[in-house]
């Protein structure tokens, strides 16, 4: 590919991602306020965005730092939350088969839910390039980093007398992430199971391990319910089928 076309692809990916990037920025501001209220420095706040670059994970890490979790439990929790990236990468990789490993290693660092969504839909109608994917990822990277810094600044000017109120910003932000995920009955079971296990676990387990334990057990509960429901669906279909046959 010519240099000019390469730049065009990169820029196109970047520009196509602006609309979703703006909503990411709003989320970034919330992260910045949280990081500030949790006592992180501005440098640490931005370093997290630069090295981790994953929204829910960074908010989780900040929350866990605030409640005094150990580094190991924070890293494991972040790893678990990000397992979904495997799915995104697996679905993206066939489109980028022709790219060099270097390009794959580089562009995958910048892969987020958002840049994946923009790029994947673009690749349905246009020739896939690693540069488009990279440009899209860079857009989110820049906006996420900058908006985190802006949020930190807001956090700083909010009076510390209001800290009790702003502690709730954590809870509110997480509710804002969870509610859109609750789309079916198995997810309802997951959320309730996780709530119960985490309360019991926080009383019985040392440190903050209840977060990981509740995360794994509740996912399993949701998964089992979904299996059970799938089975019932099939049985119902069979019964319906027989009834239709009789008519």
């Amino acid at each position: 590919m010519k240099a000019e076309r390469k730049i065009k692809e990169l820029v196109k990916g970047f520009i196509d991602t602006i609309p979703i990037g703006i909503s990411v920025s709003i989320y970034g501001v919330v992260y910045g306020v949280m990081a500030c209220k949790a006592g992180l420095s501005i440098f640490e706040t931005i370093a997290m965005s630069a090295f981790i670059f994953a929204g829910a994970s960074q908010m989780t890490a900040v929350q866990m730092i605030a409640i005094g979790s150990s580094p190991v439990s924070i890293i494991i929790t972040v790893l678990i939350i990000n397992l979904r990236h495997f799915l995104l990468a697996a679905s993206m990789s066939p489109h980028l088969k022709h790219e060099s490993n270097k390009m794959k290693m580089l562009s995958s660092f910048f892969m987020t839910d958002e840049s994946y969504a923009v790029t994947y839909s673009h690749f349905q109608t246009s020739r896939p390039t690693g540069l488009y994917f990279l440009g899209s990822g860079l857009n989110i990277y820049v906006l996420w980093g900058v908006s985190g810094g802006i949020g930190y600044f807001f956090g700083n000017i909010i009076s510390s007398q209001l800290n009790y109120i702003f502690d709730f910003a954590f809870v509110a932000a997480f509710i804002g992430m969870i509610v859109p995920m609750v789309k079916d009955f198995p997810t309802v079971v997951t959320v309730i199971a996780s709530g119960v296990i985490s309360i019991v676990g926080s009383k019985l387990l040392p440190g903050k391990w209840y977060i990981i334990i509740a995360g794994i057990l509740a996912s399993l509960a949701g998964y089992l319910v979904s299996l059970f429901m799938a089975k019932e669906d099939i049985e119902e279909d069979v019964i319906k089928g027989e009834a239709d046959y009789e008519h």
């Binding site: 509740a214 509740a218 399993l220």
Partner: protein
């Protein structure tokens, strides 16, 4: 910056990158088993819930389910506003304001 923070940031960064690149490099001939995909779809709601529920229901290490616990009422209102507004910033603002108002009137 403390050693602990450096460890957290670099460790979490490395862990995150290790979820991003491997399946990009290994061209996926064999797809991920659908059962695993299903299981993984429950991880995010499970972990995110376990992070906040004790904060809401526990006060000084004890379970507090009463009208004195502002966070419970505020959480319900926040969840409703998340459901209807589908907007992160709006949800957080409504949540914070609710706690502020409850603190003032109770």
């Amino acid at each position: 910056m403390s050693i602990k923070m450096i460890l957290i940031i670099l460790g979490a960064g490395l862990a995150t990158y290790c979820t991003r690149f491997p399946l990009m490099i290994i061209s996926s001939k064999g797809e991920i088993p659908p059962k695993l995909t299903r299981f993984m779809s429950f991880i995010a709601p499970a972990v995110l819930t376990s992070l906040i529920v004790p904060t809401v229901f526990m006060k000084q290490g004890n379970i507090d389910i009463s009208f004195n616990n502002n966070y419970i009422i505020a959480s319900v209102i926040t969840a409703l506003s998340a459901y209807f507004s589908k907007n992160m910033l709006m949800t957080v603002l409504i949540g914070i304001c609710t706690v502020g108002i409850l603190m003032y009137i109770l």
